[in-house]
């Protein structure tokens, strides 16, 4: 098609007007902030755990460097990219090579996200169903199928909500200078907002209920907690199992819940705290991959 400058300008103006008319009428989900915060914390936890594992193995520098290097499909050469995927990153027109990722010890925590969603569907109580899988792509610059992390949307007896499930290796964070302390024995009281906090903090607020979980020998092995913020209730269970940690949270929010009250998709999360703990304790998560 041939355009004169006038025609082109007119066409551009028409498209601009069309976008203004249609896009400004699109309803924007409310409550994106708390959901984004949840996603960000999970991603941060997994990244820190991955980095800590690399530090602990004495291969941090090489592993981090490997994670930050992907083939530049534009030029076919190798270049460094912004780990945040920021605007300075290259955009390519061809698929990248299989991604390099920060390695941590291989184990059951590397379960493929689609398998995790299927497992959750099989474990859930009869009156709770998976409505959608949530993103199955890794939230990392390296991309690929997510391992050990899912955020499916569920519908329970009280309505829809989101489940966050993360599998992690037990990493000795204390060997990694500058990385977060994850045990309750050292450092500041952990915040309940962090997935890697294995125990209850000393200074609980009225919005937070927390119960320590103990192994048969009496040692602290995790926690189960409930946190309310406005209309949102966030239930969490964290449990160390077989060399790793299973973290799960159920929240009455749909990444921007629009079903009635702002931010809340239902009166309660789709799972109870007991059901969430049953999910975390299910042996599916600690089975080696076949």
């Amino acid at each position: 098609m041939t355009h004169t400058d006038d025609q082109l300008g007119q066409h551009e103006a028409e498209l601009h007007d069309l976008l203004e008319r249609t896009v400004n009428a699109v309803p924007v989900p409310v409550g994106l902030a708390p959901s984004a915060l949840q996603h960000g914390r999970r991603l941060r936890t997994r990244r820190r755990a991955g980095l800590a594992a690399s530090f602990a193995a004495g291969t941090a520098a090489a592993a981090v460097a490997a994670a930050l290097i992907v083939p530049n499909a534009l030029g076919g050469s190798v270049s460094s990219i912004d780990p945040a995927g920021g605007p300075t990153s290259a955009t390519a027109s061809e698929p990248p090579e299989p991604p390099a990722r920060v390695d941590w010890p291989a184990g059951w925590w590397d379960m493929l996200a689609p398998d995790m969603v299927a497992a959750v569907g099989a474990i859930l109580p009869d009156d709770v169903v998976v409505r959608s899988s949530g993103p199955l792509i890794a939230d990392t610059a390296e991309g690929g199928v997510a391992l050990g992390y899912i955020a499916p949307r569920l519908t329970g007896p009280t309505g829809p909500g989101t489940l966050y499930l993360t599998l992690l290796p037990n990493v000795d964070f204390l060997t990694a200078p500058g990385l977060p302390v994850t045990t309750p024995t050292t450092g500041p009281a952990p915040s309940l907002s962090d997935a890697d906090a294995l125990s209850c903090p000393a200074n609980l607020s009225t919005r937070v209920q927390c119960e320590v979980l103990r192994a048969p020998d009496g040692t602290v092995s995790g926690r189960r907690s409930s946190t309310t913020s406005g209309l949102i209730t966030n239930l969490e269970v964290v449990l160390q199992r077989d060399g790793g940690t299973v973290y799960a949270a159920a929240i009455n929010n749909l990444d921007g819940g629009s079903d009635g009250q702002p931010g809340a998709s239902a009166d309660e999360p789709p799972l109870t705290l007991d059901q969430l703990e049953d999910l975390v304790r299910n042996d599916t998560w600690v089975m080696p991959a076949t």
């Binding site: 098609m1 082109l8 066409h11 551009e12 498209l15 601009h16 069309l18 976008l19 008319r21 249609t22 896009v23 400004n24 699109v26 309803p27 924007v28 989900p29 994106l32 902030a33 984004a36 915060l37 996603h39 960000g40 914390r41 999970r42 991603l43 941060r44 534009l74 945040a84 995927g85 920021g86 605007p87 990153s89 955009t91 390519a92 061809e94 698929p95 990248p96 689609p114 969603v117 409505r131 959608s132 899988s133 949530g134 993103p135 199955l136 792509i137 939230d139 610059a141 991309g143 690929g144 499916p152 977060p180 450092g187 500041p188 907002s193 990444d255 921007g256 629009s258 079903d259 998709s265």
Partner: protein
Amino acid sequence: MRDSPPIDEDFTAFVAARSPALYRSAWLLTTSAPAAEDLVQSALAKAYVHWRRVQAADDPAAYVHGIVLKTFLSNRRRRSSGEIPVDAPPDRPSSDRDPTERLALMAALRTLPPLDRAVVVLRYWEDRSVDETAHTLRLSPAAVKNRSLRALARLRLTLIDPELLELASTEARHDSHG
């Protein structure tokens, strides 16, 4: 040490202020509400992890918009590992009085390659210049102009296709009754 609370506060304030613009750009890129939400969530999670860097940027909003674009283009290259629809997405009330035009636009945008769609969003929704678009997408200005022309022509052809408009009208009627 853990991140101090102000990070969460700053991040939450940023999301509250910028999420409408981010979501609408994501909606144009993905052409679907659930995919737009997932894209914005993924991009914001990355922004949160690197929040200090976002804050240090000359234009933090543009920086996060760039993350949205990068995430979109990366995800499009990995379609095989994308979302698995398990059930119908949750219903979402729409404020559209007449969604026909919106649905037609969505259908038209879907006919564009992802990179061309990104060019359209930057040039005609975010009002970026050719040079800014070229810089963001790591293309030459000539390539941006070429893709803009191609996308404009494609959109015009598609939007005046009566069959497509009829399809959009059918979808709109279905939506209004569903």
